[in-house]
Symmetry: C2
Subunit: 411 residues, 2 copies
């Protein structure tokens, strides 16, 4: 976990902020599943100003169509999410997604238009509303401040670990919290947005600024993650603010806005990192930091190119310091800079090693490289020596397990 001064990591995940409760139950949405939670609910005592980003894929899951509609007024009070079925490319998908909102609203005694909905799992299989209908009342009754973990488990698919996180900080002398849960392991190459992530806060902030902060922080976090280059049809990122922290409403981009944005970065950046670490089949988290770029965009393009290269990823799986593949991926990135100025370092808890300078290889100890790359968190440090722009991207290695998971997923 990357720490930030002035922001304390606290328990509670998506329920850490004032006003929010959550839960997750086993509904049996995927045939045969009787052991894994697969239906989650997040609820707030207040109608929340809510910001959201959805997938840029032309194929959009039915839940996205419905959530967008329900978000037209900028407010939401609850979220209902299932795993095990993406409710995408189904003729009756929108109807089913609407029904999920209605059932959730009834159980919570709120307006159906204030419910957002998410689904994740197989595309193109009809989502049966029955198990959801049966379980929603129980789920609604089970919501609690301790429910973040259950909700987080319920939105997992091929994820191997829960991704939940919250920070505490101060605004106007008031204690504020911001936290969230996130899922995503395969079909991950967010573009404009990301897999499923639900973030809550009690900070009081103007709706437009809420959306602005979400968009900016997303561009630096989830949008810089790639597991397999596939942009999902159901990517959904929702940020709800209950406004219960008691701070003066943030209405312009002042110091308080900056504190809030940094809190959002602390949570989303760490969730994004965990998403990369938990990439399907991954054994290593790979972080590529690019410095010295002519501008930020060049740095982003180069960083994503490196962590997206199948050949770099396979080499890292074998802890092989094949820097030629890294330089190759830097070279085919769609950006303009002098390749002959580039240097590359490999780093981990075991040390740091320069493997390439001035665009060419330099002698290094293969033993030291092997030791560094055998760690489960690897850093690839690229310096373009062409300016001040920088960026970080996160990915993982490419393993037998990735192929296994995806050759067997549907069956």
């Amino acid at each position: 976990m990357v720490k930030f001064k002035g922001y304390e990591f606290v328990e509670g995940g998506v329920c850490a902020a004032e006003g929010f409760t959550a839960g997750g139950v086993i509904a049996g949405i995927k045939a045969g599943n009787t052991t894994k939670r697969d239906l989650a609910m997040i609820s707030c005592t207040e109608r929340c100003k809510t910001a959201a980003l959805f997938t840029s894929n032309k194929v959009k899951g039915a839940p996205i169509i419905v959530s967008r509609e329900h978000l037209k007024d900028g407010y939401a009070q609850a979220v209902i999410v299932n795993s095990g079925n993406a409710n995408t490319c189904n003729p009756d998908g929108v109807e089913i997604a609407e029904k999920m909102c209605e059932l959730c609203a009834q159980a919570l005694n709120i307006d159906s238009d204030d419910v957002l909905v998410g689904s994740t799992g197989v595309i193109g299989q009809k989502l049966n509303i029955k198990p959801i209908k049966i379980k929603i009342p129980t789920l609604a009754k089970s919501l609690s401040k301790d429910g973040s973990g259950d909700a987080c488990e319920a939105i997992m698919t091929t994820d191997t670990r829960k991704k939940e996180l919250a920070v505490e900080f101060e605004l106007d002398g008031k204690k504020c919290r911001l936290g969230g849960i996130s899922k995503g392991s395969g079909m991950i190459n967010p573009n404009m947005c990301t897999m499923l992530a639900f973030i809550t806060t009690d900070v009081c902030i103007n709706g437009e600024l809420l959306q602005k902060a979400l968009r900016k922080v997303n561009s630096l976090t989830y949008n810089m993650v790639s597991v397999d280059g596939d942009t999902s049809t159901n990517d959904t990122l929702i940020l709800m603010s209950s406004g219960l922290a008691g701070n003066n409403e943030i209405i312009c981009e002042d110091k308080n806005y900056e504190i809030f944005e940094n809190a959002l970065y602390a949570v989303m950046m760490n969730l994004a990192r965990e998403t990369a670490r938990d990439g399907e089949g991954a054994t290593k988290l790979v972080e590529c930091m690019v410095n010295g770029a002519p501008d930020e965009n060049t740095a982003k393009v180069v960083a994503k190119s490196v962590i997206s290269s199948s050949l770099v990823k396979a080499a890292l799986f074998a802890a092989d310091a094949n820097w030629g593949r890294i330089l190759c991926a830097i070279g085919y990135a769609d950006a303009d800079f002098d390749i002959n100025a580039v240097s590359v370092e490999l780093a981990s808890a075991k040390g740091k090693l320069t493997v390439c300078a001035d665009g060419a290889g330099i002698a290094f100890s293969e033993d030291s490289a092997k030791e560094i790359l055998s760690e489960d968190e690897i850093k690839i440090l690229v310096d373009l020596h062409s300016g001040e722009g920088s960026a970080i991207a996160w990915g993982c290695d490419l393993t037998f397990e990735y192929v296994k998971i995806n050759a067997e997923y549907r069956t």
Copy 2:
């Protein structure tokens, strides 16, 4: 092999055209290699009008820098190529590549400026000129009309099969030939150009038209192949014409130019298909044909998106008709069309099956789908129902073996 009327496939590969000989020997360029040919030479009795395309990667192998320089006058007479080392990112790379040309020129008694050079293998390891220097005289003496196979073997790296091919056709009543050899198995996502391919012909044709035909046919063949999304640093495609067929020189885009261009397509398209089939670790050739696109470029973008998707590729490895992943990959292609009009069919020697219509799934027999997808040549037929544009792209499945090869390649 895809056949074309009026073009007869003949033996001889890169030596089929009048004037050309070739050969390949074991030089031991990669430490420990004493069994695989790794040094190839192609020679012509004439100085040939020569067209070429090179990688778009900013990192360019030293042989590319040298070949470009030697091609400034538009002529070449011989090619020297090694596998086992890419001679890329080495401080003395250009010097070594020049030396290879000089040694080849001496042995053939031609001008060093008329020799082109190619290298393929590991990036960033010094290429030792010694074994090359020792073997070049023997190699030059061994050149023959039967040498295409040996040359083809000598340029292979992780390739599992030779890719060589030639066609015979008529121009002005004269028998003409065009053939080539090609290598490429990993780091394959040609952009503006391709892996290593050497094509020869005896057709007499103006130099500008030679380059024009090469560029166009390349955009429809090698540029539509992706194995792993990585664009190599050493992609080189060379087309040499001896002019010995006796046809009247082609000087404008007339009927004869069209016949020549089609011959080039017949050879390059089949070599490109074989490259995809022999993708690292592949068990299946995957062909995606897109019809009904608003324009050709849209069709190309969509076709490449489908064959490049890791998730589609892993599903095909398991013969799993996971059409949702295909639709997802169509959906995130960077192109403009109505996703709700899209239909998808799966086909092979075992039959054809519609799995998606109007952008949504339709009922189909999983057994039939499994049977179709268990073949080693799979077609994904996409119709966007939005116009007349069409394109074909070639790829392969993603397998355990791909990961194995690339996690172990350098060691």
